[in-house]
Symmetry: C2
Subunit: 273 residues, 2 copies
């Protein structure tokens, strides 16, 4: 479907948080063509049933493959937690989710025995991280941090209120565990890495931060290397197509901060529902 020299990679999220995963992909696979889809009409996935999320995610996956994607990155914790198998079943390209790579990265660090997972309420309730950790004999504690996404979306990245909220959440979590690694289980959280690191130190923890955006990008690069493209890393600069299923105003306004560079014109696409 594509005559490009480099790979075409589809990246999917319910919103624009997954752009942090795309940002992490860029230095690893610099010459790819990226197709990003934010299913903004139907976000947040977190309050919806497993069946509904699986249907939405499968539609999004089919759209990306129809546009030429040779692999899919599910840059959405809820969709990965609740619908990874359903997505993989409807497309014939490799599918990388955000949960296994970050747990694998924490585990392969070797010295990790106890990890703390920061995530949204919906992701915590799915216990997908807990189960992925248990399969690797990692002792895990999950902490729901429902205010962090709204704070990031308000743009309060380096802000006293955000630091106070982090202090409260992390102090509550550290009262129940002594982690050697903190996993960022939400694609919004990489924007708070510095603030989380600083707060951990203030609370006397030397845990290292492992973020799912970076871990997922490394896993995707490993998969791309196995594809029979002319050039796994592509040639020249990355190119982008960006789609949203509803209101693109907020998407365009915040997307640049998540991607770390100006966001191309976002196109509206109707997937129904």
């Amino acid at each position: 479907m594509t005559s490009r020299p480099g790979p075409t990679i589809g990246v999917f999220d319910s919103g624009f948080g997954g752009l942090t995963v795309l940002r992490a992909l860029l230095p690893l696979i610099p010459g790819a063509h990226y197709i990003y889809l934010g299913d903004t009409a139907r976000l947040p996935y977190g309050s919806k049933s497993r069946e509904t999320i699986a249907r939405y995610a499968a539609e999004s996956a089919r759209f990306l493959v129809a546009r030429g994607a040779q692999m899919l990155v599910i840059a959405c914790n809820t969709a990965t937690a609740l619908a990874y198998n359903e997505i993989a079943a409807v497309v014939d390209v490799p599918v990388v989710g955000v949960i296994e790579p970050v747990v694998h990265m924490a585990h392969s660090g070797g010295k990790q025995t106890q990890v703390l997972i920061l995530a949204t309420q919906a992701t915590v309730q799915s216990h997908a991280y807990l189960q992925a950790c248990a399969r690797r004999d990692l002792q895990a504690t999950e902490k729901a941090c429902p205010l962090l996404v709204p704070l990031v979306e308000e743009g309060w990245i380096d802000h006293p209120v955000t630091r106070e909220v982090l202090r409260i959440y992390l102090a509550e979590a550290l009262a129940t565990c002594s982690p050697s690694a903190v996993l960022l289980g939400c694609t919004h959280y990489p924007l708070l890495t510095a603030a989380i690191q600083q707060t951990l130190q203030e609370l006397g923890s030397s845990a290292e931060i492992v973020d799912s955006a970076s871990a997922t990008a490394h896993a995707a690069a490993a998969v791309i290397a196995t594809l029979k493209t002319q050039s796994p890393e592509g040639t020249g600069a990355a190119t982008f197509e960006c789609y949203a299923t509803d209101s693109i105003e907020k998407f365009q306004r915040l997307g640049s901060a998540f991607l770390g560079q100006p966001l191309n014109q976002v196109q509206f696409i109707d997937l129904g529902g």
Copy 2:
């Protein structure tokens, strides 16, 4: 459809915030039968297009009338702002929204010349309050407060972080206007009335708070008095039916705080989509 002596009132919101309106209705129409619908599968409405919101809201309105509602209260700012006419067009019962009553109440106070409207980003972007104020020659300033709903849903009602966020939002707003009234343009905000009042005073403002829940309940009571029910206020205690279109766990957990009394069993209803 009903043989009850009192009126049957349908109350609709995209979530459970509208329960603050139901709470305000109870003392005014104590013997009614209330049917509450939270369209939780499709919230938040704020990020969706006008056409989509109108379709969702019309489906919800039809459901409530089919269940026997003799009047509808749209206890949702976004649905009122973007789809009042579409809702009123598909049902043959009176429809009361949340915007006109609170603006009317602020205006009829007589001494108001300048009002400050606190609301979500979506409601502010619709400028529905600004237009309703302009029709009554009220000078209005709108202030989007995107963190207040997440803070209320986190349960941080009387909390230092919430007070700090209010101080920031209200100081920003008061730098541009000197309101004699502050309108709470979101059904979550009545839970923060005391904190908002205190913060206004700390910032040197003597503005009075007019909340849309209370104003809407008074408007609904006035409409009910014109219906040919056997007893406009009903007899005996209020009875409830409560429906949600998806995950009812959060609804039941937070609903009691919004309603101010234990919430009956919430029933799941599938409206499609």
